[in-house]
């Protein structure tokens, strides 16, 4: 990489994590939530998403490229830190460590999830309620999916907190404390939405 470009890569990394990847995450979890209204509802919603015009471009530029840039650059960031929770057991230091741990786990989960659904769809499989029902019938996969969704929502919510710091929006300790509570709320709400959708397939 060119010299003195790190700052811009880091800013791009922070931005893409929220726009578009974070927005897509929220949208995805909300569409999944149709599953709680029964198979028909979910299949209809999935059908609408599948039938969006210019779908492949939307997928490439709004999902895959930003997601994998964020993920791979994030792995680089995660492995250039030296965690020290024993010396500094503070809340923020734990969040710092968890952000990196959930980032790596989310990358594994999302990659597996894309392989199991989107890539299989490209190979001719039908993505519908039955597909998810079959995947989640395995208790190991059910646990993996729940862990994956919670890891993703945590990474997003806590990432939103540091996004606000990185972009200079929350400066004072007070505003950063309030945004901690706000993002904690986002984590809880998105986790409930995500887990309810998963359990609807069981």
């Amino acid at each position: 990489m060119a010299k003195d470009r790190e700052f811009y890569w880091r800013r791009l990394h922070s931005l893409l994590g929220v726009i578009p990847v974070g927005i897509f995450l929220i949208q995805h979890l909300i569409v999944n939530h149709y599953a709680t209204r029964g198979p028909e509802s979910f299949n209809n919603a999935a059908h609408v998403m599948e039938g969006l015009p210019f779908r492949i471009f939307l997928e490439i530029f709004i999902i895959f490229l930003p997601l994998y840039f964020h993920a791979l650059y994030g792995v680089y960031i995660a492995f250039t830190s030296r965690n020290n929770p024993r010396q500094f057991g503070t809340f923020r230091n734990w969040m710092f460590i968890l952000q990196r741990a959930t980032g790596v786990f989310t990358l594994i989960f999302v990659t597996w999830h894309i392989w199991e659904t989107r890539i299989q769809a490209a190979l001719g499989a039908t993505v519908d309620f039955n597909m998810m029902e079959a995947i989640l019938a395995d208790p190991f996969m059910l646990a993996f999916y729940i862990a994956g969704v919670v890891s993703t929502t945590f990474h997003f919510a806590n990432g939103l907190w540091s996004f606000l710091v990185t972009w200079g929006i929350t400066i004072s300790p007070r505003s950063q404390r309030i945004s901690t509570y706000a993002t904690l709320g986002i984590f809880v709400v998105l986790s409930i939405i995500g887990i309810r959708a998963i359990l609807a397939f069981v």
Partner: protein, 260 residues
């Protein structure tokens, strides 16, 4: 005086001290036990070991090397890791520490010998981010703009930084795998940019902060603000500089007709 009060059992202080003979040699721990005196700090204990360099086993050893200066927590030279926490050894009072007291150098920096480290990288970073106010010229420019008293009081807090290195030792992103300059020099940019004369060159400092190893490498673990012995609001400085550098980034990228 009764016999019982003079014959009290002799109290001692136990130490486990990191020893390293030079930059490249293998480190090891050596134990020491010295007689107790009231109101000792870690430095007076190290002076006692220097006066009588015998380890706990009674073997003669080399005196422990450490760095010190002011002895009143304003110079930053005597920083070391005491029972796992980076801090100044002059204000580390023996009576308040759990024994054995474990002394280690701040290994984020190159270890010169024993507890002595080379903090030059911090001074290099201050040069990199132009942490000064240029006033030299060919003629007397007269007094600069006045600084509001409230801002002066606030800036005084930032000026308490003594380049001690504790925040770099505490930061998970300052290590051999990264070239992050650490929190201290970042906050100094905020100090000099807040000065009415310093503000005349604030774009130069912000652009320096946007270089490799600069502000972008902060990961918001916020250990620095916990560790800072001077209570400098380092994370507030970092967030404020995030705002400033973002604006500077837009100015640079989209162009602007005013530089500062």
């Amino acid at each position: 005086m009764t016999a019982s009060s003079t014959m009290t059992e002799e109290k001692t202080i136990r130490f486990e001290i990191y020893r390293q003979d030079d930059l490249d040699s293998t480190p090891y721990f050596e134990e020491f036990e010295i007689p107790y005196r009231a109101n000792m700090n870690v430095i007076s204990a190290l002076m006692e070991i220097r006066r009588n360099p015998f380890n706990k086993k009674g073997e003669k050893t080399t005196p422990v090397a450490w760095d010190m200066g002011c002895l009143e927590e304003v110079c930053g030279a005597c920083s070391m890791v005491i029972n796992g926490t980076p801090r100044q050894s002059c204000t580390a009072l023996v009576d308040q520490l759990e024994q054995p007291i474990r002394l280690e150098p701040m290994k984020t920096f190159p270890v010169v010998r024993d507890l002595m480290v080379d903090r030059s990288r911090m001074f290099d970073s201050l040069k990199k981010v132009k942490a000064w106010i240029p006033i030299d010229g060919t003629y007397d420019l007269g007094p600069g703009p006045r600084m509001p008293e409230k801002r002066r009081q606030w800036a005084y807090e930032l000026s308490k930084c003594m380049t001690c290195g504790v925040c770099l030792e505490a930061c998970p992103n300052v290590n051999s795998k990264s070239n992050f300059i650490g929190p201290a020099p970042l906050s100094q940019v905020r100090l000099f940019n807040a000065h009415p004369t310093g503000a005349m060159n604030k774009n130069e400092r912000l652009n320096a902060l946007m270089g490799d190893g600069g502000l972008g490498d902060c990961g918001n673990s916020q250990n620095c603000v916990q560790a800072c012995p001077k209570g400098i609001p380092l994370t507030t400085s970092i967030a404020a500089l995030n705002r400033d550098t973002n604006l500077q980034m837009f100015r640079n990228f989209f162009g602007s007709d005013s530089e500062v």
